[in-house]
Amino acid sequence: MSLLVFYIISAIALAAATGVVVSRNVVHSAIFLLITLGSIAAFFVVLHSEFLALVQILIYGGAVVIVILFALMLTRQGEFQETAEHARWPGAAFVSSALFILLVSVFVADAPKFGSASEINGVRIEVLAKTLFEDWAVPFEVASIVLLVALIGAILIARNERESDQS
């Protein structure tokens, strides 16, 4: 039963990810990206990480896709059509499929090392919070500084220079 759910979610995720990279219309790509991120959240639920599934939907579905859609609207060219897009696809397809074969062979070779554990142990949210704010407190604070710097930097870069000269 859970295996069936897994296969359905992976089919959706892989189909949507394919849509992201081959779609000719950029807005369709963004919608496919949203579906991919949602199916990753479904994977997190299957893996008993409900908190991360919620974070995934809130930050990726809520923030990242919206930012991408805003950027698409602000950098609009014609009807979002792109011509001569896939000029370099043979090399890209070769590199990525070679990497895929390499990764899968490594994973299959390493599979006995990890055992055939099929039991999924969920992390309790309380344990997650305790570890994050005690053992990982310094990286947590550094991450907040990184976010602040990125915020200020994004504002400075995206600011319209002509308007700021007048003021």
Partner: protein, 121 residues
């Protein structure tokens, strides 16, 4: 459903994202492909964390349902915490990258990365 299933799906997502980064010209789509790659990595991290067996290092002080502090085996949450950091950095990255793309579009009316070659040596 074993760890290998999740590893293979993660690898496939990562390689699809890599294909997008290498083959597309639009900067926005390259960023979306990078997001797909980051999510593949996150999926692998969470799967490894979920399938990790209990060990001696997983003994941790925690409270039971009655609110008493007890010493119990818990699943080590390190994989999930790294995932949280990856999501944080991805959010910062997408904001900065979109600002740069917006700026490029204003100055030359295109978001195609192969038309931007001033810094080529």
């Amino acid at each position: 459903m074993t760890l290998l299933h999740f590893e293979i799906v993660g690898a496939a997502l990562f390689c699809l994202g890599l294909y997008g980064v290498l083959s597309r010209r639009s900067g926005v789509i390259i960023l979306m492909s990078i997001e797909v790659m980051l999510n593949a990595v996150n999926l692998n991290l969470v799967a490894f964390a979920a399938f990790r067996p209990y060990g001696q290092s997983n003994l941790m002080q925690t409270s039971n349902t009655a609110g008493e502090t007890v010493l119990a085996f818990v699943q080590a949450p390190d994989g999930l915490i790294i995932t949280i950091f990856v999501i944080t950095i991805a959010a910062a990255e997408i904001a900065l990258a979109m600002a740069i793309i917006l700026r490029l579009f204003r100055s030359r009316g295109s978001v195609h990365v192969d038309e931007i070659s001033e810094m080529r040596g």
